[in-house]
Structures are given as C-alpha cells and as structure tokens.
C-alpha cells in the first residue's frame, strides 16, 4: 500500500470549509482542512511514490510535472482565498500527517498570525511595465569615418558606442520604472519588486522594466486599477499592465517586509 503524505496549500483564518469541499487538489484528491486553534491548514493527501524525497527531486526537473502541480496549487490557493484570509504555502510543502501539520501551526502560530494580519482584507495586484517598443532599442548611428569602415578599431568603437546607447536607454528605463513604482506604491498598503521576467518565459519581446506586486485593500481595487490606467496614459515610454486581485503570495510571508 503506497504511503501518503499531506500536501499543504495554504494556512488561513475564517475559511469556510464547505466552500472548498468541491475543489480538487493534486491528482484529483479532495481538499481537507486541518484545524489548530484559530488557524486552518488546507491540505490534500498525496502519494509518496510521487511526492517522496527522491521522487520530488526527479519530478521537479520535469517541466510537465512542475507546470501541472504549480497550476493546481495556484488554482486551490485562489479558491481558498475567496473564502477567507489566506497565507499561501510555497510549492511542495508536505507533512507526514495531521499531527505534524498541527505541530507546524503551533510552532509558527505567532508568525503565521502576523502574516495573516498583514493581508487580511487585502489583495495582491501585479503590475508589469514594459518599455514602449519605439524606445526599446536605440537607433543605430551611421559610421562617422568611411575610411575606417571595416577596420578592427572602428568595429570595437561601434560596439562600444552601441553598448553606451543601450546603457543610457536602460538608465532612462530604470528611472521611469522607479518613478512608476513609487507612484503606485503611494496608493498601496505595501509594495514589492520581483525580478523582471525573462522574455523566453513570457513570450513578450519588449523589455520588462518593472515587475511589481502591490497589496491593496479589497474595496480599493477598482481605484487602484484606475490609477494604473492614469499612470499608463501619462508615460508614453512605458506600457503598464495590471492583473488582479490575486491572493497575497508576495506579502503573506514569515519574514516581514
């Protein structure tokens, strides 16, 4: 008989277990709620032949497996977050059983409660800023000395000049990104910068000059989205895209920002 573990999706407070009873966990397993004091851990049973230490190390290298588990994890977090205050767990946090889950909650009760306090009544908004296409690549300059065209020295000079123009364009982009980040942060409870996403991962060709997450009160979401639109309109060199509201992944952390 295969051994099971419990896969942790999130720790919450005030969740409505009935609201998530129809939601599927990993590999179609039913979600369960493990209660300890005022906190609730949302879990599902997983097969340790798939989620044991050795198998995990192997499966995490398999993009198909990783994508499936990550999307399921995220879908469950979204479903649970709609019913109450939630601190999502990182992917593949697995405990032996319910006692172990309760032990974790007890040991971390103070920090978990603080994380939940920080995000209660609030949601995360993702704002990504791309350099507007025209400003993305500096225009090439014509050779200034035709007699030297093709020589090694001119070649290196052209390379250096291009690098300088790219650096200047990048500096301008950074300045615009900083300004936009600050303008939106002023309207949010908290803000975080995430690393810009690789174009090969997003399929977007324009450079991403800002990848930010904002914590915004639930009933201020529409106003925040409207602010993003206004900032977008006043910055010709940048394109802003807002997505949300999402569960507060970036803010319900044990290490307070």
């Amino acid at each position: 008989m295969p051994a099971n573990g419990l896969y942790l999706f999130a720790v919450g407070r005030g969740l409505d277990p009935a609201a998530i009873s129809g939601v599927e966990g990993i590999d179609g397993a039913a979600l369960e709620v493990v209660v300890w004091r005022d906190l609730q851990a949302v879990v599902c049973a997983v097969d340790l032949t798939e989620f044991g230490e050795a198998s995990l190390a192997r499966n995490l290298e398999d993009l198909t497996w990783l994508e499936r588990v990550a999307r399921t994890h995220n879908d469950v977090v979204f479903a649970v977050a709609a019913t109450g205050t939630v601190a999502p767990m990182r992917l593949v946090t697995i405990c032996e059983g319910e006692d172990s889950v309760r032990d974790r909650i007890e040991a971390l009760h103070h920090d978990l409660s603080a994380a939940l306090d920080r995000v209660e009544g609030r949601r995360e908004w993702s704002v990504k800023v791309y350099a507007a296409t025209a400003a993305a690549e500096p225009a090439p300059e014509p050779p200034d000395d035709k007699a030297e065209v093709g020589s090694g020295a001119a070649y290196l000079r052209r390379k250096r000049a291009l690098a300088d123009r790219r650096r200047a364009a990048s500096d301008r982009s950074l300045h615009v990104a900083d300004e936009i980040y600050g303008a939106l942060a002023a309207a949010a409870v908290a803000a975080r910068q995430l690393p810009p996403q690789d174009p090969r991962l997003t399929g977007r060709s324009e450079p991403m000059i800002l990848n930010a997450a904002y914590l915004v009160a639930i009933d201020e979401g529409a106003a925040f989205r409207a602010l993003v639109q206004r900032v977008n309109e006043t910055h010709a060199s940048a394109t802003l895209e807002a997505e949300g509201p999402w569960p507060p992944y970036s803010f319900a952390t044990l290490d307070a920002p």
Binding site: G5, A19, I20, G22, L48, F51, E53, A57, L60, E61, D62, L63, T64, L66, A70, R71, H73, N74, D75, V76, V77, F78, A79, A81, A82, T83, P88, M89, R90, L91, V92, T93, I94, C95, R104, A115, R123, S126, K128, G150, G152, A153, Y155, Q197, D198, R200, L201, T202, G203, I218, L240, E241, A242, E243, G244, W246, Y249, S250, T253, L254
Partner: protein
Amino acid sequence: MTESPETSRSPTHSRPYRSSPAQYSDGPAPANLADILERVLDKGIIIAGDIKVNLLDIELLTIKIRLLIVSVDKAAEMGIDWWRNDPMLSSQAQDLSEENRELRERLAELESGGQADEDT
C-alpha cells in the same frame, strides 16, 4: 490602458467551482506560467515540511525557470531540455560560445597588430 490578454480571456485552466458566494470577486487566476511559478516557488509561507526538498535546488530551479519559455510545447519546439542535459550544451549556449570565440579572435588580431579582418 493595455490590459494583459490574460485578464480578458478565460483562463486556459478551469477555476475550481465555489459552492458559496465569494466574499469578493477575484480576477481570473493567472494563465501566465511565469506569474504562477515566481509566486509558488519563491513567495508565500516557506517552511520545511517532513519531506525534504533541497532548498538550494528550489532556488536554482527558480533561476532556471526564469530562463525558460512559457509552455512545454514551446520548449520542445526550441529544443530546450536543460533538465536532461548540461545547459552548457544547449543550442543557445553554443551560439553564445561561438560569438565569444569570434570576438576573442578579433581582439587577439588587433592586439598582435595583425591586419584587421574585414568580415564583420
């Protein structure tokens, strides 16, 4: 404002049914794998479970994922299979190595005072 396409079309993965009214309406779950991975791998409550996951591996995985593309189909198209082979053997790494080698040769020529190569 340009809305990301993900916010205006249905998510490609169905959202779980909620049997009771939502306390507030959510935006659709992100369809962009980059958004999901950078959050579920790198954010949230990070604690050690009972099943050991080498945390260093997760961080390395996050870095590797950032270098990857959005779907498995695209990965196959581009021949990306870093999880099986040394990434230094990937086609893109080979292109960069080749360009690097050419630039070093040009520098060597200039430093040695040889005739400049005209084939740039």
